[in-house]
């Protein structure tokens, strides 16, 4: 069973990124990176933000073009990192994954997909305010119940660099 560690600074960077688009009434997304040599317990070490016309953010949808994923793959690989999680915003208090999130997001085992309420615009949003979902191999995303969230996701004080911008 995987355990995730999220640095406080990375969490704040993520809310800033998601909330910036949320304040425009659009869904924002921030990607979370870990080292390629991570073991089963995984610490996120860097966030990444996507820019340019190959990502489209709407009020109820984010589309990332495959050519941007292509470019992002090279950048992440060069850094010896891999994408292991993401956070995106939903309007109001809806923090479950939608059908679109489940079907058209990253569907790799143990991937962590987090949904922030109010489009991530509340700076003091805590883990428990969000929906944490793990992709289960051969199955689908599963939301972590509250007691499991407390056991498997930890906030750390480890400093992180500024977000990678691609």
């Amino acid at each position: 069973m995987r355990h995730w560690t999220i640095p406080r600074q990375l969490w704040q960077q993520s809310l800033e990124e998601v909330g910036a688009f949320g304040r425009e009434g659009r869904e924002g997304i921030c990607l979370w990176l870990a080292r390629q040599d991570s073991g089963s317990n995984l610490a996120f070490v860097r966030s990444a933000v996507l820019r340019g016309p190959l990502i489209r953010r709407g009020p109820l949808s984010i589309q990332i073009d495959s050519m941007l994923i292509d470019r992002f793959t090279d950048v992440v690989d060069r850094e010896g990192l891999l994408l292991a999680g993401q956070i995106h915003g939903h309007p109001e208090r809806f923090t479950d994954l939608s059908d679109v999130d489940r079907a058209m997001g990253f569907r790799v085992p143990k991937f962590l997909s987090v949904v922030a309420p109010y489009y991530g615009t509340h700076a003091n949003t805590a883990f428990r305010d969000c929906g944490f979902h793990e992709f289960v191999a051969g199955s689908d995303y599963r939301r972590l119940p509250e007691h499991e969230l407390a056991l498997r996701v930890t906030l750390s004080e480890t400093p992180v660099a500024a977000p990678l911008s691609v």
């Binding site: 304040r23 390629q36 709407g58 990332i64 994923i69 891999l82 059908d99 990253f106």
Partner: protein, 247 residues
């Protein structure tokens, strides 16, 4: 001494590395040259525990890319693809969509999305509380200059953007559109009928069909229509506001 010409020698195998953004790279230093790219893709998907999916609603597919982009011909063998090279490096790539809805349903929504972003970044926007709850719908909280404490939330809903004028209503604090008290008293605005007789909303053109063809009044779809409607409404509020409708 005679010089002999022998055909170029290719080893029977090839060193293949495939990167995927959410996994440790796939690496086979000894992949058969006779293997097709399609067969390689199947192995790579297995390596990353990925499955392609096709349902009536969703299609999840992965593509092999090289430095030029997507590789279309997966029937070719690794040997044919590599030519004289003894190693190849590829990427496994996907399109990502996240959110409560799928892609924008129409081009109109995409144009409004761009115009909304322009408005949100404009100097004028600091006076408005903007929200976009749906693809062709915008809410804006606005106040008259003379009564900054009074907030009116206008709801603009387009059937076609920017080709037609939007429906213009005001929302009350509960989100209802049928409350006349949510309306300001302005020239041409009829809170009792929940409509406005102005040439920048659909209700106005419904009341005055002749405006549609009159060059003085017809709807102009050029430029940022969202910004134009909000600006016209703000000018009305600043210059002609007579209070909140009291019923």
């Amino acid at each position: 001494m005679t010089e002999s010409h022998s055909p170029p020698h290719h080893p029977r195998s090839i060193d293949v590395r495939v990167k995927y953004v959410a996994g440790k790279p796939f690496h086979d230093p000894d992949a058969p040259r006779s293997q097709t790219l399609q067969a390689l893709k199947v192995r790579v998907l297995t390596h990353f525990h990925l499955e392609e999916m096709s349902t009536p609603e969703f299609q999840k597919t992965y593509h092999l890319h090289d430095h030029k982009g997507r590789i279309e011909n997966l029937a070719q063998t690794l040997g044919d693809y590599a030519g004289r090279d003894d190693k190849i490096e590829l990427k496994l790539v996907e399109q990502i969509t996240q959110g409560l809805e799928g892609p924008a349903p129409c081009a109109d929504a995409v144009i409004l999305e761009e115009h909304y972003a322009e408005v949100a970044a404009s100097d004028e926007a600091h006076r408005w509380k903007l929200e976009r709850p749906d693809w062709l719908e915008v809410w804006a909280g606005m106040s008259p200059r003379s009564a900054p404490g009074e907030v009116f939330q206008v709801r603009l809903l387009w059937a076609r953007y920017p080709a037609e004028a939007p429906s213009l209503k005001f929302r009350d604090s509960a989100g209802r559109l049928d409350n006349p008290r949510a309306w300001p008293v302005l020239p041409g605005f009829r809170p009792g009928s929940l409509d406005a007789c102005v040439n920048y909303c659909a209700e106005g053109f419904g009341l005055h069909p002749e405006w549609r063809t009159d060059p003085r009044f017809r709807w102009d779809p050029r430029g940022n229509s969202l910004l134009r409607v909000l600006t016209l409404l703000q000018v009305e509020l600043d210059e002609h506001y007579q209070g909140r409708f009291g019923g």
